[in-house]
Symmetry: C2
Subunit: 226 residues, 2 copies
Amino acid sequence: MEERITVGLVEDQFLFRKGMKAILSSWQDLKVVFESEDGYSVLGKLKEVEEVPQVMLVDLSLPPDGTKEFTGKEVTQTLRENFPDMKIIILSVHKDEDFIAQLIECGAHGYLVKDCDPGEVYEAITSAFHRGSYINARTLKAIQNNINKKTSPRATLFSLEQLTKREEEVLQLICMQLTTEEIAERLFISPKTVNGHRNSLLQKTGANNVAGLVIYAVKNGVIKVM
Amino acid sequence: MEERITVGLVEDQFLFRKGMKAILSSWQDLKVVFESEDGYSVLGKLKEVEEVPQVMLVDLSLPPDGTKEFTGKEVTQTLRENFPDMKIIILSVHKDEDFIAQLIECGAHGYLVKDCDPGEVYEAITSAFHRGSYINARTLKAIQNNINKKTSPRATLFSLEQLTKREEEVLQLICMQLTTEEIAERLFISPKTVNGHRNSLLQKTGANNVAGLVIYAVKNGVIKVM
DNA sequence: TTAAAAACAGGTATTTATACCTGTTTTTGT
DNA sequence: ACAAAAACAGGTATAAATACCTGTTTTTAA
């Protein structure tokens, strides 16, 4: 019998992680050798372990009480740098094409949405291991559309830059229903400055108004809502 | 050997559902006899099935593309009315006490957060079946605090009234970053009417502005954010 | 059928947010 | 030490949201 493929799981929801482990166990040629609940501890845990998994399934839900959240992109990049041979498969609820494309660009070897079936997870793992990647139709489409966007002139204007610390701080206060003046008081700065941050936020996130900003904050884990 | 407890799963995420099924299968005295992916089809499916589950695990994540979403409260109420003997255990990511208390008031027999461990799920199922309910410390606290709120004088002023259909509709459009005028166009009504709904929303939810409304919408599942 | 709730529509006023500018100072990385 | 980015602060204008009213029509439920 051939060596089994060793698999690692990064997933914050305990139940889902255990469920996934149970599912994967039904394939004889897979072996779950690593589990982690968040992006923080992955690296540390991996260095202490004798058996480094060949394929890592990474879920992108954020840890619910993260002071500084570790996004899927960061986890992917970190893993790629430290374990160049490891294949990384992203598991996420996001169907957004930009989002998918960004992950692949960061070095992920595959992308699965969470409503796929167990068979596809298996296929992704084996494909990533044997052929180096698993790109399904949706992922391919996302990558292609993203390339088109990049070559189009609008992309450079609208590109999703990262928020600065101050912007993130302002965004959190906006989500807490504070007005510009209240935020200014809270941060001991001029309302005009807050206004500037507001505008940067709207531009960077592509939102039209506070509603869009709040949604962005929720989606990107800038605030925790549950 | 005694009869096994029959269990049903309502959960939109395919992978999570399968994982949960795999987990539950490790207990010999449980038997998963029913699965549904959304609140809509539960009732219909249950009527076509020969074996109605004794305990139903209901996840509250919303179906990702629901035109008219079926909330956990509605599912609970509907099940209670049509299957009075069935025990209902809610499985959710929400840790909000009001939210938990509301579900229990709607007739749920237990409430679990999604990061609990598999053993607790098993305990909840058996406890609900044999003793009629499973109330853990968190749930109990939520119920108690909710009772306190109700008897306090402020509660009557601030009480979370239910949103009307129209209000919910307007709220969704607000979250989609539409302005009052755009919403009016979309719904073929006067901006003044939309304004009225806006004000009702602010009052009913206790929000100060759109940011608060969006947060409310996310917390209460009025919109789906992922 | 009748009362209550919901949906509708209008008014006035004020506050806040958004969309553009301009520029300086401070921090950061190399 | 230098350039770049971030944080800061000001201006002007307009658009939108919020806070209060008033009332009518339609729908819902008892």
